[in-house]
Each structure stands twice: as structure tokens, then as C-alpha cells.
């Protein structure tokens, strides 16, 4: 009987019987794609060397993921785009002049140690790309803080080294920064477009915003972390950033320079390492902003985005535990 035969083939499983089309792989590849404009701008300013450094990071990440998963007999997940994205972000956080071993070793630290040894995607406490970069910065401080002038890479090997805008601001002050760039408007414009020294993928604010806007429209990220992060930086820069006393700082310079935009839109919003409840995300953003400005203004490094996000990553479990979403029908008096 046709019906009886059919019964043998029926799938029985629990509800729901339909699923959305979203997958981890689609998310990872889409986020990677959205980084394309910022990466292209990096290549435009720093030349083929930017491609070389980034490619090494990506290859190193994929290889590390494959290696650890093989060694621990777990399914290999390099096709899900997660290791690719980590490699891409790590590459974009490197100076284009980094010697070949830095991308390779730091991508291994990022993926094998910070991600896979913690249990793989979903279990890592720290943003893997930032761990890789922190490792590189501490291990090779000179190579990681030697910057070349944009477009210099096209000229040849005698690329002129220079300081980043944040470095200038920290060491020599706002007036010197204006002297180098000409005037305020030129400074802002150059920072926005990306004509400045810095990590190869962080320089072009406009390209980063383009990708971030795409992710916002796709609802892959929400405004909560980036906006609270940037707003905190802006306020603190304005209040404490000036040499002539309180409320004399220039918030725009702080917003547009360094790795802030890449960090706020792409690193702080990493699903795994940021809080997942909206209230908690706002607190997380504020914390990142506070730590970033503390380091930029008072600590030894000119830039604080990386350490700020890594430190806030530690607090993510605590934030998630204590700031929960409001449960439907929860009585007001029952709340603490």
C-alpha cells in the first residue's frame, strides 16, 4: 500500500518544523564582505603590502583552526567564515609594514589559543583578533608601532615613517597636529577619508561606516554598542581632552582617529564576546568608551581601543548575569 510505504519515510522531530534561513556561516561571510570597502581603502593607501599582510593573517587563521580541530578530533569548521573573519580583522589591525612572521604568529595566537583552546566559536571570552593584535603589540612593540605615510608604499622601499594622528596628539599636542595637516577642516576630511598613518584597515572612517551601515540595515548589528561607545568617547574627549582645561577637547579628532571606528563597529560588536541583552550592551559600550579615553589621555599608549574592548570582554559574563531583559508580565514591585 502506498500509504504504508510512505510512513516508513516520514521524519518525526519536535517543533518548530520550519527554520529561518539565517546561518552562522552566512553571518560571518556577510560581515567579511562588509569590510571590503575599508580593506580596499587600506590597499589604496598602503599598497600591495596591505594585501600581503592581510592574506597571511587569513591563511594563518584558517590553518590554525584546521590544525587544532584536527588535533582535537573535532569537526573542521573553516568553511563557516568565522576564522576567515578573524584573520581579516586581524590583518586590518596591522601596520602594512609588518614583517611576515607577525601576521602568521599572531593569527595562530588569535585562533588557536584565544578561540579554539577556549572551546571554539561561541566559547571564547576575548575577541580573538584583538588578542592576536595585543600579543603582537607586546611582543614586537617597534614593528607594530612603526607607521608609514599613506601612499608611500607605492613609491618604493624608502617609505617614510611617520606618527599616527593620535601619536602626534599625545606627544606634541593639538597645535602640532593642525600644523601637520594644515587646518581643522583638512584634518577632519583626511581622517574621514583615511589619508593618514595607521593600521591598514582602520584608516578610512567613511569606508568603515559604509560597511557598518550595511550591517545595520541587515540587522546583523544594532546601534547599542557602537553609539554608546562613540558617545562616551566624544563626551570624555570634549571634557578632558583639552590641554587648556576642562571642556576644551576636540571630540571629532578622537572620534575619527585611531582604531575607534573599526573597534566600535566591528570588534566591540562581536556577538560572542559582547553582552547579548541590549541594556547590557549600552553599559558595555560606555565602559569601552571610558577605558579607551582613560588610556588615550592618561596611559602610556596613544591608542586604547584594543585594550578597552579586551578589558570589557572580561566583564561581559558579569553584565549578562545582572542586566537581564524585562520579562513579559513581570511585576514592578518584584524588581530590585
Amino acid at each position: 500500500m502506498a500509504v504504508a510505504r510512505k510512513e516508513q519515510e516520514l521524519v518525526v522531530s519536535v517543533s518548530p518544523h520550519i527554520r529561518s534561513e539565517e546561518t552562522v556561516a552566512r553571518i560571518m561571510w556577510t560581515v567579511s564582505l562588509s569590510l571590503l570597502p575599508a580593506f580596499v581603502m587600506g590597499v589604496y593607501y598602503f599598497g600591495p603590502r596591505a594585501i600581503f599582510v592581510t592574506a597571511l593573517c587569513i591563511v594563518g587563521s584558517l590553518f590554525s583552526e584546521w590544525l587544532v580541530q584536527k588535533m582535537t578530533s573535532r569537526p573542521v569548521t573553516i568553511s563557516d567564515g568565522s576564522a576567515f573573519l578573524t584573520g581579516l580583522l586581524l590583518g586590518m589591525n596591522m601596520p602594512a609594514t609588518a614583517p611576515f612572521y607577525i601576521p602568521l604568529v599572531s593569527s595562530f595566537v588569535a585562533v588557536a589559543i584565544a578561540k579554539q583552546l577556549f572551546g571554539g566559536l561561541g566559547y571564547n571570552i576575548f575577541n580573538p583578533a584583538l588578542v592576536g593584535r595585543a600579543f603582537a603589540l607586546i611582543t614586537w612593540p617597534r614593528a607594530m608601532t612603526t607607521w608609514i605615510e599613506p601612499s608611500a608604499a607605492f613609491v618604493g622601499m624608502d617609505a617614510k615613517t611617520t606618527a599616527t594622528p593620535l601619536g602626534l596628539l599625545k606627544e606634541e599636542g593639538m597645535n602640532r597636529l593642525l600644523e601637520v595637516f594644515g587646518d581643522r577642516i583638512t584634518l577632519y576630511t583626511q581622517l574621514l577619508i583615511g589619508h593618514r598613518a595607521g593600521s591598514l584597515g582602520e584608516v578610512s572612517v567613511i569606508a568603515i561606516l559604509l560597511g557598518a551601515g550595511f550591517l545595520l540595515i541587515k540587522r546583523y548589528i544594532t546601534w547599542h554598542i557602537p553609539v554608546s561607545y562613540l558617545a562616551t568617547v566624544a563626551v570624555l574627549a570634549w571634557v578632558f581632552g583639552g590641554k587648556e582645561g576642562l571642556f576644551t577637547g576636540d571630540p571629532l579628532v578622537h572620534l575619527l582617529s585611531g582604531g575607534l571606528m573599526l573597534g566600535a563597529w566591528y570588534m566591540a560588536t562581536d556577538y560572542v564576546t559582547c553582552p547579548s541583552v541590549r541594556k547590557g550592551q549600552i553599559l558595555f559600550g560606555i565602559g569601552c568608551g571610558f577605558l579607551t579615553m582613560l588610556i588615550r589621555l592618561k596611559a602610556g599608549y596613544p591608542e586604547g581601543v584594543m585594550f578597552a574592548i579586551l578589558l570589557m570582554n572580561c566583564l561581559t559574563p558579569l553584565i549578562d548575569r545582572n542586566l537581564k531583559s524585562r520579562v513579559f508580565g513581570e511585576r514592578k514591585e518584584a524588581k530590585k
Binding site: 502506498a2 500509504v3 510512505k6 510512513e7 519515510e9 516520514l10 521524519v11 518525526v12 522531530s13 519536535v14 517543533s15 518548530p16 518544523h17 520550519i18 527554520r19 529561518s20 539565517e22 546561518t23 552562522v24 552566512r26 553571518i27 569548521t77 572551546g119 571554539g120 566559536l121 561561541g122 566559547y123 556577538y271 560572542v272 559582547c274 547579548s276 541583552v277 541590549r278 549578562d320 537581564k324 531583559s325 524585562r326 520579562v327 513579559f328 508580565g329 513581570e330 511585576r331
Partner: protein
């Protein structure tokens, strides 16, 4: 005006077009009906017939054994073959009466009452109880119990649920288009029983014809037909109440705590049939749909009809049917047998083709993207609940409001890691001490 709704929810593909234009067809009762003696939530029933006995259509087969219980009646006339066991749509074995249909469809004597609306509330409520009416939206809670709120819980609003937010299903939709007056009469009976002055009918905006027909039928009555945003699970009681009245049923509470009683539109129709014509609940509209059947449609089906008969009526299984679900795709139950009988709570038989079926055999670790948190209509943190349950920390799930979850499946639908979140939550619910 902005359409009313609630916070959270998802928009799965609706697929209502497969059957929403198909008029309700009466399905010829089958040769054998298998009528489960427990089709409701509550105390079991006690059979009052025995094997070999002749029964008529509408005759009492089993009587309730408590207040929270519902009578079961014969859906065809014929001979009781046996009182044996069958598998209900949830996959559990239940006692059932098997009747061989004599094809005569002879009714018991029915008490008609054209003056039903002038009867006292208690008389009407008793008719509903005698007719074995249960909630027909799926939960199958005895209706007379819902209509008997304790004195300290005054009710001021009755809502009929015509949201039908589950994808694919169109049974309530067709009933509203084809029997709007009867549904309104049923609502008036409910309002009379509860002494309520104001009635609402909530319908998702993807059923404009049902909204129009219901509005026409409600003309001149203290009844408002409300268009709701199309969003799953709009038809969940708490979400429906929030959307229409702005009231929030307290966590762990019931609609009556905020003065509301919700009934499904199909239930309202059954209430009218019982109070006006004395007919017990022995048939209902069932949507047979999905790309796994050849001709989807809506069928007026006798309780106890095996789903195989319904599938045959819908043109039979297409060559590549992979899954048969009773109910909707979000909360329904997958079946392994085509002999499972239709019950009072069966709103649909959904046959999924390979194109509609997503295998969820393997899943990954939670990437903490928060999609489930945004989508959860109850404001829970499904990701944490699933992780705690997965790791065996069942007691800790209580800190995350485990028992507020009503298992709508929204979290599991949106999860990009394809985690079986709602299953893990159910597991925790079973293992945790309340």
C-alpha cells in the same frame, strides 16, 4: 492607524495562499472513526458505552470525571467495535472508542432553542459543558472552566482569537469568512455568561476578507473587530491581550488576572452550535496543506477521522512528502502514522515537502548573537536557558524564568546556529523541581 501588536516575534513565510481561498468542504465521514477519550487538558473521561452497542451521531461516549474535563461524543452513527487504545496527535497512547460508521448519520434527539440568548448564564454554561467543548485553537482546555472565573477575578473583556498566526493554517480564516454571524452569536453567548459588555475579535491583517466579513456581522453589536500586525506568535493569549487591551498578564498568571477571557473563533462557533441547536462538538474545520499534498484545502471533519483520510481528500501525498505535522509548523506535532485521529484541537494537517523541510540534525554552539532574545515574546533569554539545559544545570534555568516560556518556538526558528532551544527548555522544565 498603526496595527496593534506586542514586543518581539518573528515573520516566518506565511504560505496561507495554499488554502486561504478554498471554501470549507464537508468531508465524507470515514468507515471507521477512532475517537480518543481524552482530547482535552484535565481529568480523564469514563466510557459509558460498550463494545457492540449501537450509537447515534452526537451520543455521549464518555463522561467527564471532574469539573476540569470534557465529555466525548460519537461523531457518526453506527456500532461500537471496541474500546481500545490509539495514539493521540501528541504521540501518547490514549483510550479510544472505535465506531463502525453505518452511513446513516442519524442524530440523537437535539434540543433546539431559538431563544438561547434569553437563557440564564448557568443554563448556557451547562449546555457548553454538556457539548464537550474545549479550546479549539490547539490547547484544548475545557471551555466551561474558562467561563467560570472565581468571583474575585471580575472579567470585563472577552476577546475572540482570530489571529491564526501559525503559518499555513487557514481553518479559522475560512470559518470567519463563511460563518461570521454564528461566530458573533457565540461571542454574545460568552459575553452573556460572563456579564461582559465589551467584546473584541483580533484578526491578523493578512486576512482582510475575514476582517470585512466579521465587521459586517458585528454591526450594531458592542463588539469591535481589531486588525493586528502579522507576526508570530500574535495568537498567543498573552500577546493578543497585550496587543488589544494593552494589559499584561502577570508572569505565571492567567488572562483572568487582568479581567480578560480569550476564546478561539472556532470555539465560539461550537458554542453557538451547542446553545442554539444542542449539538455537541463532534466536528471541526481542519486545514490540510503544505506542498506535500496535491490539493490543499479546508475540510469540515468529524472527530476521530484518521489523518490519512484527510490527506486522501486533499489529493493524496505528493511524491516527495517528508514530514506530516498536526497543527501548525511552529508548534505542531510530527506524526509517524496516518491512522492518528483528528481531535477537537486539530487545526491542521501540514505535509511538508523537501523544499519546506529544514533538517536540524546538527547544530552548533551558541554564538550569543541575541536574535532569540530580541524575538522572544516573553522577554526571556532563550540562549542562556538552552546553554544551561544543554550543560545539565537545570536548577539554574529557574533564574532565567524557565516557566514563563510557553514554547512558541520563536527562538528556535531564528537561531542561526540551528540550536534546538525550545527542546532544551522543555527538557529543563521536565527535570527541574518547580
Amino acid at each position: 492607524m498603526a496595527l496593534l501588536t506586542f514586543r518581539g516575534g518573528v515573520h516566518p513565510p506565511e504560505h496561507k495562499e495554499l488554502s486561504n481561498k478554498k471554501p470549507i468542504q464537508p468531508l465524507t465521514p470515514p468507515k471507521l472513526v477512532t475517537i480518543p477519550l481524552v482530547q482535552h487538558i484535565g481529568a480523564p473521561t469514563k466510557p459509558v458505552v460498550s463494545a457492540g452497542q449501537e450509537v447515534k451521531r452526537g451520543q455521549l461516549l464518555a463522561e467527564p470525571t471532574g469539573f476540569v474535563s470534557a465529555a466525548v461524543h460519537a461523531s457518526v452513527s453506527g456500532k461500537v467495535l471496541s474500546i481500545s487504545e490509539t495514539v493521540n496527535p501528541m504521540g501518547r497512547p490514549v483510550p479510544a472508542v472505535v465506531i463502525e460508521n453505518d452511513g446513516r448519520d442519524e442524530w440523537i434527539e437535539l434540543e433546539e432553542d431559538p431563544e438561547y440568548l434569553s437563557r440564564p448564564p448557568d443554563v448556557l454554561k451547562e449546555r457548553i459543558q454538556r457539548a464537550g467543548i474545549v479550546g479549539m485553537g490547539g490547547a484544548a482546555f475545557p471551555t466551561h472552566v474558562k467561563l467560570s472565573p472565581p468571583k474575585e477575578k471580575p472579567i470585563d473583556v472577552v476577546i475572540l482569537n482570530g489571529a491564526e498566526c501559525e503559518p499555513y493554517l487557514t481553518a479559522d480564516h475560512r470559518l470567519m469568512v463563511e460563518r461570521p454571524r454564528e461566530i458573533i452569536e457565540g461571542l454574545k453567548i460568552i459575553m452573556r455568561i460572563l456579564g461582559v459588555e465589551k467584546g473584541y475579535i483580533g484578526i491578523e491583517n493578512n486576512k482582510p476578507d475575514a476582517i470585512d466579513r466579521m465587521r459586517e456581522a458585528a454591526e450594531g453589536e458592542p463588539i469591535e473587530v481589531v486588525a493586528l500586525q502579522v507576526k508570530y506568535p500574535q495568537g498567543a493569549e498573552k500577546m493578543l491581550i497585550k496587543a488589544i487591551t494593552g494589559r499584561e498578564v502577570p508572569a505565571g498568571g492567567l488572562p483572568m488576572d487582568v479581567g480578560v477571557v480569550v476564546q478561539n473563533v472556532g470555539t465560539s462557533y461550537a458554542i453557538y452550535e451547542a446553545c442554539r441547536f444542542g449539538r455537541p462538538l463532534i466536528e471541526r474545520v481542519v486545514t490540510v496543506t503544505g506542498r506535500g499534498v496535491k490539493e490543499p484545502g479546508n475540510f469540515l471533519t468529524r472527530v476521530g477521522t484518521p489523518i490519512g483520510e484527510l490527506i486522501e481528500a486533499a489529493g493524496g501525498l505528493a511524491d516527495r512528502a517528508v514530514k506530516i505535522v498536526m497543527g501548525g509548523p511552529m508548534m505542531g506535532f510530527a506524526q509517524y502514522s496516518l491512522d492518528v485521529p483528528v481531535t477537537k484541537g486539530t487545526s491542521g494537517v501540514l505535509v511538508l515537502s523537501p523544499a519546506e523541510y529544514v533538517s536540524a540534525d546538527s547544530y552548533r554552539a551558541c554564538i550569543r548573537c541575541g536574535r532569540c532574545i530580541d524575538a522572544c515574546p516573553m522577554g526571556l533569554i532563550p540562549s542562556m536557558l538552552s546553554i544551561l539545559s544543554e550543560k545539565g544545570f537545570y536548577e539554574d534555568t529557574k533564574e532565567y524564568n524557565l516557566f514563563d516560556c510557553f514554547e512558541c518556538g520563536t527562538c528556535t526558528y531564528v537561531c542561526p546556529a540551528k540550536r534546538p532551544i525550545v527542546q532544551l527548555i522543555r527538557l529543563a522544565k521536565m527535570l527541574v523541581k518547580r
